[in-house]
Symmetry: C2
Subunit: 454 residues, 2 copies
């Protein structure tokens, strides 16, 4: 009898109908990324193990798959002496992104908007929703001088995907918080700088432990037995805040980081994302590197579809210049389960039709600020950003400029260089000019007509 | 100073402009595969190491990257005792394909036409044209009852890619041979069954060694010192054969396997592939599992772009039913070098345009044999196959049936089920009917018009 072979536990075989679903999801990821002006990159499937221990410490070695060349006797000898393997299968892409950005920082555009879509590997015990190999989508906004708008653009991209696959704010929410607010609160209830990391780790585990376990864990971590009770009190008062009713005033005095969060929510509402987003003070994210905004997309109150936030120290850790970054990751496993359970996974026929379309690699439209005398630049910028958000929500590949110049000639050249089809020049919320970048023709256009470009 | 990190030797970072070229190539692979009626599959990036040693022996362990979970102490202990790692990064996809086919053979279509496109890993010393991680395209025709036509269809798909990326028969050739002919010749010059594998291994190394080295290697392998001289004599007389001039008659008597090769060439000429293909008795392919037709695509007389052949014993080796298979693989590294050197790598703009199109997932046209009384089925089949070849060469997604039934109603239903746009019914080389499968309308159509469907 010849042997029969099984795939390794926690990995998947994709027969044609299985792969069609994965390709459809990847196509949605790619299409949404491109529509929001991100460019795709990729790196090696395995990296030197130092790349992962540098950021996450030696502890991560037990979470990853070690890789070594069967040809290299010296490597083998070192492993047999008890050392870790020289390489590791990537458990996540962020360290590779940081390494790649650091290596060429001076030559890259500012901001640098990158997405990535490939497989990751985790040496975990497989269970529902967690596999040892899975597909992952990362979106990162690197650099730029407007962190608030970068946060909003990244969240907009994430919501863009949710919309595209048919999810609604009834199905899932982007739950937002700010690490700086958590740090303020932890200080306030008596944690020292040294205890901060332990406090974050504990908070990230909150949903998985009951109160008794939580208190025991807090004691084990040296956070004191009253930590959990005090934290819960503050969390509850924060979660009941309503800035429209004025209950926030006292808290604002106490926790300065709340101001940034309020501004973030106001901007999200302005871009039509208000229904999707909610404040959740219990979101802290497990990884140590987050420094500001953090968020998770939670379906039906419990299943995490995506997670991300701001990690401004990351590029420096990998030898690059100090550079702000905000990004998120989304895996295929939980998302596919959610879509299947909700009956949102399309049949083969509409999938084939979507795949036959191809993503919109060329920008459909570049939205530019018009420079009429007397117009308030901030007002125009707001109109530009609202228009871009609207066009992207309708599936178009829409871009805006990140330059401070208002020289329309230069901006039109950028739009042309990016191979956009149209430039949409905004001189006011309702004063729009559409320019066909191929023929050079231009004409006034109403906001309604602009939003229905195709 | 924070550390700086490098990608592992022999792997690549893909910045946006680099990844665009890779995506463009993958898009060409996918488009050509679909146009030729293959469906995409995928499997794990790492497999249990037994999957590779089963087919290729223990020797392969030194050619691959070992993988183990950092979490599993028992695994680690076994490695430290000197055992190989439990998993390996895939050095090639064929064992996974065989495992997947064997696992579900009964439930799969016959024939089963699969393609695959992902990364592979080799623990080799990196050099020009050889990396430790690279992209690979595999095309496999599994099962079916017409091995000759399966060989032709696979070669047609390979040439389809060469055409699509702008290569011509002046740039590269498909060099064909048959393992059975090589076995006949090796027997004829005195090799025993036991020496056969050593003989093949030596022949595959021929291009890399000079004559002195080759003779030494033959002696080392126990093939005798006259082996190389005798083989060269036969090879030269075989290579000078010209069946149109009758010099082949004597050889045909001696080597029966030549008959199959001649039939293969005649069929390739019939499908418009004659200019692309040539006989090369020195092509044997390194891997032990080939059993019949073998071929390599060689650019400029030396650079191997692709290689493949028939391996009828493979599925059985992996626990499945006896099933004929023919397939080939093509990597991105050599092909990209060849395209760049020849100025055939497109600029960004045409790449973006092609990527925005999306591959033709739905069949454009299903070509079906018409059943007029008195028509010779073999003649009709020839016309069908020539038409399919022609349509595919023009970039259309064209399919044919592999069933023996000539019941047009059933065949039209298959075409509909495959979501084809048109059925083209062939009742003779110039007697064609086009049926729109959406509207049901049908009308006579000339061969010229049929070939220009779009």
């Amino acid at each position: 009898m010849p042997p029969t072979f099984q795939p390794p536990k926690g990995t998947r075989d994709f027969y044609p109908e299985d792969l069609l679903r994965r390709r459809w999801l990847e196509h949605a990821w790619r299409s949404v990324s491109l529509a929001h002006g991100f460019e795709e990159i990729d790196g090696p499937a395995f990296e030197t193990i130092d790349l992962y221990t540098a950021k996450s410490g030696e502890g991560i070695v037990s979470e990853i798959f070690g890789v070594y060349s069967g040809k290299d006797e010296a490597e083998l000898a070192r492993i047999r002496e008890g050392n870790p393997a020289p390489f590791a299968l990537r458990p996540e892409f962020t360290p590779t992104l940081a390494r790649m950005y650091a290596a060429k920082a001076g030559a890259l555009p500012r901001p640098c908007k990158w997405f990535w879509q490939q497989n990751c590997f985790r040496a975990e015990r497989p269970q529902r929703g967690r596999l040892r190999e899975f597909s992952q989508w990362n979106v990162d906004f690197i650099g730029g001088d407007n962190p608030l708008e970068a946060d909003v653009e990244v969240i907009q991209t994430c919501v863009g995907l949710l919309r595209r696959v048919g999810l609604t704010p009834k199905d899932c929410k982007v739950r937002l918080n700010d690490r700086r607010l958590v740090v303020d609160v932890l200080k306030d209830i008596g944690l020292s700088e040294e205890q901060m990391a332990a406090g974050m780790t504990l908070l990230d585990k909150r949903g998985k432990l009951d109160e008794r376990e939580l208190i025991a864990e807090a004691e084990r971590l040296g956070l004191g037995k009253h930590f959990v009770v005090r934290f819960t009190e503050v969390a509850e008062s924060l979660l009941s805040l309503d800035y429209r009713r004025g209950t926030i005033t006292d808290m604002l005095t106490r926790y300065n980081a709340l101001r940034g969060l309020i501004k973030l929510f106001e901007t999200l509402v302005d871009r039509g994302l208000g229904d999707w987003c909610e404040f959740d003070f219990t979101i802290v994210r497990g990884l140590a590197y987050y420094t500001g905004t953090v968020f998770e997309v939670i379906a039906d109150g419990e299943r995490a579809i995506a997670g991300g936030g701001r990690y401004d120290g990351l590029i420096e850790t990998f030898g690059g210049p100090a550079t702000p970054v905000v990004g998120f990751g989304m895996g295929d496993v939980v998302l596919s389960l959610v879509l299947s359970d909700k009956g949102l996974m399309p049949a083969a026929e509409p999938m084939l039709d979507q795949l036959s379309q191809g993503p919109r690699y060329r920008p459909d439209v570049y939205v530019l600020p018009g420079g009429k005398d007397g117009a308030d630049p901030a007002t125009i910028d707001g109109s530009v950003r609202r228009m871009v958000a609207e066009l992207r929500a309708r599936g178009l590949h829409a871009r805006q400029t990140y330059k401070s110049t208002r020289n329309l000639g230069k901006l039109l050249k950028d739009a042309s260089d990016a191979r956009a089809r149209f430039a949409l020049i905004v001189e006011g919320e309702a004063a729009l000019t559409l320019k066909d970048l191929k023929t050079g023709e231009q004409r006034p256009i109403s906001p309604e007509e602009a939003k229905n470009l195709s």
